[in-house]
């Protein structure tokens, strides 16, 4: 029987939000994730009864991280200390705490990321591996080292599929799932976990929970994201939606520079190699860079799972001085 760890709300959300994000760079997407992760810490303390008060106004209890089995104390104190300063001893409502936690400075967020990543890595729930982009022909040949976070595949599946089932199935939804749902919405991660059709069900579920559950009623109207950051992410998502076709081809083929992180090109050595040989070349490159690789569907355009995400490996060529034949990896979400 496998060993199970009970991760806290902030840890679970961080595992989803940081998965496949660059570890040594502050990208816009990661900044949005970190803001939501800071809000997750407030919600975690709130659910554990660490925020006390009356009439909807709350403040942190004096000690919030005692007897925490999985090292929650370190990141909880870090976020609460930052927000406490702004509270100046006054009691505020949950919205205020969430808003201020998610508006911490970039420097504080970067420190928070290090603490959270260390906590998760000590628990074996997060590791640093070479970024998938490092497998791209141009990056690989330039010798660039880009790192990314990866949540262990089994643990990621346990957490995300358990959550998906709770939301999509009939029946009661726990407060943890309500908070996670809100955090995923605020960080723009919902489409990573749910398909387009499922998103309609999720929206219906949220509408159903809003009047019937007091936590959902308090939380769902709150928005913490920053407009300009979200706009950037939204544009990227729109572009991704625009390029999605049944075979995974589209605008990225014509303008791969627009979104290179999403379209990795791996060259194959042999001209006109068949799909099996092409896949073998991809496998070799990915495994050499420390990625876990599973073929989900064979064929001319195979579907492959790399770490926790699913891609289509589409035959493609680029022209430098001579045309180079290879494979373009295009994300296929959700799994």
């Amino acid at each position: 029987m496998a060993e199970f760890t009970d991760f806290s709300l902030a840890q679970r959300f961080s595992m989803i939000a940081l998965n496949a994000q660059r570890s040594n760079m502050m990208t816009t997407v990661k900044k949005i994730s970190l803001r939501a992760m800071a809000a997750a810490v407030i919600l975690e303390v709130y659910l554990d009864g660490g925020l006390t008060g009356a009439k909807g106004k709350i403040q942190p209890a004096t000690r919030t991280g005692e007897n925490t089995p999985n090292g929650e104390a370190a990141y909880r104190e870090m976020i609460l200390d930052g927000v406490r300063l702004k509270a100046r001893g006054r009691q505020h409502d949950l919205f205020w705490w969430l808003k201020h936690a998610s508006s911490l400075s970039k420097r504080k967020l970067a420190r928070f990321e290090l603490v959270m990543a260390k906590t998760l890595s000590d628990l074996g729930a997060l590791e640093e591996i070479p970024n998938l982009l490092g497998c791209d022909m141009y990056y690989e040949s330039a010798g660039l080292s880009i790192k990314e976070y990866r949540c262990p595949i089994d643990e990621y599946t346990r957490m995300t599929e358990g959550f998906r089932a709770e939301i999509l199935e009939e029946g009661q939804v726990s407060d943890d799932a309500i908070c996670l749902l809100w955090l995923l919405r605020e960080s723009g991660c919902l489409p990573d976990l749910f398909s387009r059709n499922e998103l309609d069900l999720v929206a219906a579920r949220m509408n159903e929970l809003d009047p019937s559950n007091s936590l959902a009623h308090t939380l769902f109207p709150i928005q913490i994201y920053r407009g300009w950051e979200f706009a950037i992410k939204h544009v990227l998502r729109m572009k991704k939606t625009f390029i999605r076709t049944s075979v995974g081809t589209g605008m990225l083929f014509l303008f791969p520079l627009l979104d290179r992180t999403q379209a990795v090109f791996i060259e194959t050595e042999a001209w006109f190699s068949n799909s099996k040989q092409r896949l073998e070349a991809v496998k070799e490159r990915l495994e050499a860079q420390g990625h876990v690789f599973t073929v989900l569907k064979d064929g001319e355009i195979p579907t492959i799972k790399i770490d926790n995400l699913v891609y289509e490996a589409v035959p493609h060529f680029v022209t430098v001085r001579i045309p180079i034949q290879g494979v373009r990896l295009l994300p296929k979400r959700p799994i």
Binding site: E155, G171, Q172, S174
Partner: protein
């Protein structure tokens, strides 16, 4: 407040939900739902709109058995027939 059950509580209970099964077995929700709809995972349900409850030990064992057969190359209809024959 209704909190998510801890793994300790799940491992101590006789019945689990489909979400808890996903957590226990690291299996995709859609896969478990498909197996359930195919009648491969028996469950109990008090009323139509209430949560389906699975017997933890038997169901976890059955899922790992199904996974093993799948890895040996057996198709879902073949596994289903095998299950029918055995029960």
């Amino acid at each position: 407040m209704s909190r998510q059950r801890t793994m300790e509580a799940i491992l101590a209970s006789e019945f689990v939900t489909i979400g808890e099964l996903a957590r226990l077995t690291a299996t995709r929700y859609s896969t478990l739902k498909f197996y359930t709809e195919e009648g491969m995972l028996p469950f109990e349900q008090a009323e139509e709109n209430l949560t389906r409850r699975y017997r933890r030990e038997e169901t976890v064992e059955r899922i790992s058995w199904i996974k093993q057969l799948r890895s040996e190359g057996m198709s879902v209809p073949e596994i289903k027939t095998k299950l029918m024959e055995e029960s």
